[in-house]
Symmetry: C2
Subunit: 629 residues, 2 copies
């Protein structure tokens, strides 16, 4: 059973000293972190890296590090708790009741992503979220006076939070305890407890920024140890009574867990269906046979935009995968992310939905959405997806890379994915976004060409436990292509249109594949035999057996890539590249494609030039993916 569901959730903030504290607490509480692990703090291959990583160290629930992510993950964890509680708790079975605790500093509060998520947390009335704000008045640059003089208490009240202030966090530990107890009583608001502290308390340097990054001096450490009653000669030493105290907490935790396990066993008796469902979801297993509902298309049938194909998938599978919890950053009608029967995830008092609702209204908060989805995923039992325009996934880059690093199973439904969005123009047309996302390790960037490829993208993305995916989807209509199948597309790349003795290969993705096919037809008439390769997901294709990869990218004729983005990166799969040299343009999408020469006739002309160049050059044209290393 995931401890996330039964124990307190603690989200650390990134600052080094909190991170060390976190590791020490995990050690004292009996997590798999030895004294030797603590000694190798910030060393290569240790369990105690410079910033905690959830997939790496026992007891680390989310990867924080970059500022603002921790508190935002906490909002996601608290939302997940509210959702799972509303879905699975029954009379007499308060199974899912945990609080989420987050520790944050001034830096966290300055980051925009924290503003986004804390505003939403207030709206969502996440009563089980308790954030302790360590107000030590110091950041790396010195006094917060130099840049951060806002009234944090008032700001959080404006967000709809319950706010308390603890005046002497250095000495009056009881007042911190009491504030937490008060916060626990507030059920309809998240709580912020602002605790005035002195950075480096006890040190000769207390209250200055020099304590932030630099280690204390040896004599200062001796003094601090004496001051707090420790033996100054001993290092990495935990007095027995400390171990005993923490051990007692561990015992209490084990008792709580045993009690919870017993409750779950009773739940299994009384509510066998719900129990089965809950445990399945926590294991992260998808319901059996869900994939049979995926739409399948025949060539030319029911042509639609790939954002529409995506909507059809969601409509088909949502009922069967209750852990699919979606939303949009205020672009629901454009992203087509809300299925007909959806109920909004909302506090019941708003009368706009319920916590059992599976549709999140994220507001215009892309970065916040990304960080909240990471929290939802970390909690367990939920597979979150979120919609926005592909271009605005960039706003969330900080959270997206952490999804990948932390192995969160998160989906982005990224519509309006190229110059094909048309009139909104260059400010909204991604150029660099695809290669940016392709370059993030453990992130799958899918750009399906039609209906079957869209179904394939969902099939793969939903099965890819531990890997986030971005689905790049068109605004404009795309035909269902000859030879595109789910089985082909889940390989990440395949030969869509094959010929023998080819003079040219065109490799393409998404909305440009149909243009490659049109070009190939025109070229055939001119005697230039052209294969077309569809490559909806580079990362997945790269994981295929080398033999298969070399069947697709066989040697013999040059490869020309075609994509309505920058050509940067396409050299990996091609000898020649066609794409956008700079920014897009505002206009009806077909006119914009024409302006940039991404049409069947022009690509045929370019392809002919490429084929002739390599014929003239002579020698074997070797596959672009054949390498020495």
């Amino acid at each position: 059973m995931s401890p996330n569901l039964c124990l307190l959730t603690v989200v650390p903030t990134p600052v080094r000293r909190r991170c060390a504290l976190h590791y020490i607490l995990l050690h004292l509480l009996g997590y798999k972190l030895s004294m030797d692990d603590l000694k190798s703090f910030r060393q290569v291959d240790s369990l105690t890296p410079g910033h905690p990583e959830s997939s790496h160290t026992d007891g680390i629930e989310v990867t924080t590090g970059p500022l603002g992510q921790g508190i935002s993950n906490a909002v996601g964890l608290a939302a997940a708790q509210a959702h799972m509680a509303a879905t699975f708790n029954k009379e007499g079975f308060d199974l899912i009741t945990n609080h989420t605790y987050a520790f944050l500093g001034d830096g966290c509060l300055q980051e925009g992503v924290a503003s986004e998520t804390c505003s939403l947390a207030g709206h969502l009335q996440l009563g089980n979220l308790i954030a302790l704000y360590d107000d030590n008045h110091i950041t790396i640059d010195g006094e917060t006076d130099v840049s951060f003089t806002e009234d944090v208490v008032k700001r959080f009240e404006a967000y709809g939070w319950h706010v308390q202030v603890v005046k002497d966090g250095d000495n009056n530990l009881e007042s911190i305890y009491n504030a937490i107890v008060e916060a626990q009583k507030v059920k309809d608001k998240p709580s912020l407890i602002k605790v005035h502290t002195t950075i480096g308390f006890g040190s000769a340097k207390q209250g200055t920024e020099s304590v932030h990054g630099s280690p204390l001096k040896a004599d200062d450490i001796v003094n601090i140890k004496k001051k707090f009653g420790f033996d100054p000669e001993q290092k990495f030493h935990v007095p027995d009574e400390v171990y005993a105290t923490y051990n007692a907490i561990g015992v209490r935790g084990a008792e709580a867990e045993a009690k919870w396990d017993a409750l779950l066993a009773q739940y299994a008796q009384k509510h066998p269906e719900e129990h089965k469902e809950l445990t399945r979801r926590i294991r992260g297993d998808l319901p059996e046979g869900w994939e049979k509902k995926l739409p399948v298309y025949k060539p030319g049938e029911k042509n639609a935009a790939s954002r529409k194909y995506s909507e059809i998938v969601l409509q088909a599978i949502s009922a069967g995968i209750p852990e699919l919890v979606g939303g949009s950053a205020d672009l629901t009608g454009s992203n087509l992310t809300r299925v007909k029967e959806a109920v909004d995830f909302q506090p019941p008092s708003t009368k706009l939905g319920s916590y059992a609702g599976r549709y999140f209204r994220y507001g215009v908060r892309e970065h916040g959405m990304g960080a909240i989805m990471n929290g939802l995923s970390a909690y367990g039992g939920i597979i979150p997806f979120g919609g926005t325009f592909l271009n605005f996934v960039s706003y969330a880059a900080g959270a997206v890379r952490l999804s990948a690093l932390s192995q969160h199973h998160v989906l982005w439904v990224a519509t309006h994915d190229s110059i094909g969005l048309g009139e909104d123009g260059p400010t909204h047309q991604p150029i660099e976004t695809a290669i940016h996302l392709r370059a993030i390790p453990n992130l799958h960037f899918w750009r399906p060409a039609d209906g079957n490829e869209t179904s394939a993208a969902y099939l793969f993305a939903l099965q890819a436990k531990g890997t986030p995916s971005v689905l790049s989807l068109s605004r404009q209509t795309l035909p269902n292509l000859e030879n595109s199948t789910i089985e082909h597309a889940v390989k990440g790349g395949y030969v869509l249109h094959d010929v023998e003795g080819e003079n040219l290969n065109i490799v393409s993705t998404g909305s440009e594949v149909q243009i490659a096919v049109a070009a190939a037809e025109l070229l055939a008439k001119e005697g230039v035999k052209t294969r077309v390769i569809s490559l909806p997901c580079w990362e997945v294709f790269d994981a295929q057996p080398k033999e298969y990869q070399l069947q697709v990218f066989r040697s013999g004729a040059p490869y020309l890539s075609l994509e309505a983005y920058t050509t940067v990166g396409w050299q990996k799969y091609s000898h020649e590249q066609y794409g956008l040299a700079a920014w897009g343009a505002s206009g009806p999408y077909d006119k914009v494609y024409e302006k940039f020469g991404i049409t069947g006739p022009n690509i045929a002309a370019v392809g002919k030039k490429v084929a002739e160049f390599y014929q003239k050059r002579g020698g074997e044209v070797i596959s672009p993916i054949l390498h020495a290393i």
Copy 2:
């Protein structure tokens, strides 16, 4: 003379209807925007794209579009006004006095970047900034009730803003006027005027989200025109009295400009030096001979981290380039961005600096810093630079791409640029960042290998009017290399170590170039003759004459790329790639490099394998940059 300096600055927000309104106002006020331009709204190659672009349309001062950027640019414009006023105004010469006006909606306020910049604007007491918040209670997803229920008035008061509420913005235009007059009187706080309005006022659909994106129906338009006293039959028609009214405003503006020009002429008499300096800065010309101060190094001399070389450059040139206005997102001591004699840009009442100060304390607000720098640049007379870790430039991706699209002359001092940052670990170590930034059109990503290359990066970046640059700098020490010179490096790429009859070429950047050199030395001992190419800036290298490019990347032997990032993208310049397959690791930097095999001996072993593979394959090895198209 830049009108930015003498007229009111108006920053539009991105929503379509405001954008149309903006274009219409520009037309009525006599900017270069004809009725035909208005008719081709959102058409290819028109002057009226779907979202306004500053480099594209007369009278557009910043490129907004993506939500949150407009108000954040406005903060930058207002800060620029405060700085230029403090620098150039003299007794009797209130030359620089403009207000900055911004219009924003609910969406803008939800974006984190707006929270960051509005918090800072409050801290900075930017009294000449006036923001009108169009509170129409509607976003694309419907009522703001679904996701945005915070108390905006209270939040902005918490930021230290002066806030007013206009209750009937639909009918009581006088109350809006009066609120603006009140706001103008407040000199020590930015002002927010919350104006309650009805979206689509006058339409049958008024007050609903359907007015947001969809056009009104024909009969509805007829009714609205009648309601407001226009001829319902006429389209794209401006009654003469409307032209006359706006023409009078244009005349008033021209009079104000003439008066201002006269004041400037007197200023030239009384303060000739300041006048020369002000006009030079507004033209965007650098002071003559500034580049002579750039540090030059001999091989092996004064080895340092490239962030330190950068500090030495800044220290050397800052006094000579007063328009260089820098800062850091709370990493001053790490980014090394503050020169010794710097004065902070602060409201005088804080006693921490003055508005004439040239060093910005941005706080932990990377995205906000990016958007503010765009505003500073747009104002004229300022070349802003900002420091953070390279990894956190990703937080600011939304603003960075707009720098490039809008041709803002902005510099990012992006330190701690790889796994070389060491202990902070994978959450802070960029992998995908370099290729992301390289893929943004009109953005120069520089990764200098040593002192001379760092000087070259500043030389080029400061001369590249209309192009933003990111300088990717190391935390760890880098030796000054044999054959690295400013003259070589400003070409973006050059042969650092040449041999005849090479068996291998290694192409590298930044901190890995020294490792490539070490590998080449080891390889030479084994009879593998190896050239080393340093490629500090792809974009600049690509702009060199093809002949030069082919001298550097001549055919004959394979090219192996070496960079401590993802290898994605390097296929453009190499046949084989060495880099990071996934995430970095936390540890002392030399141990981390060792873990990933980025050492002289290992790269020599890899290089040998590559050379042998291509020798065995036979045939000519053709330059990776030789193409058909």
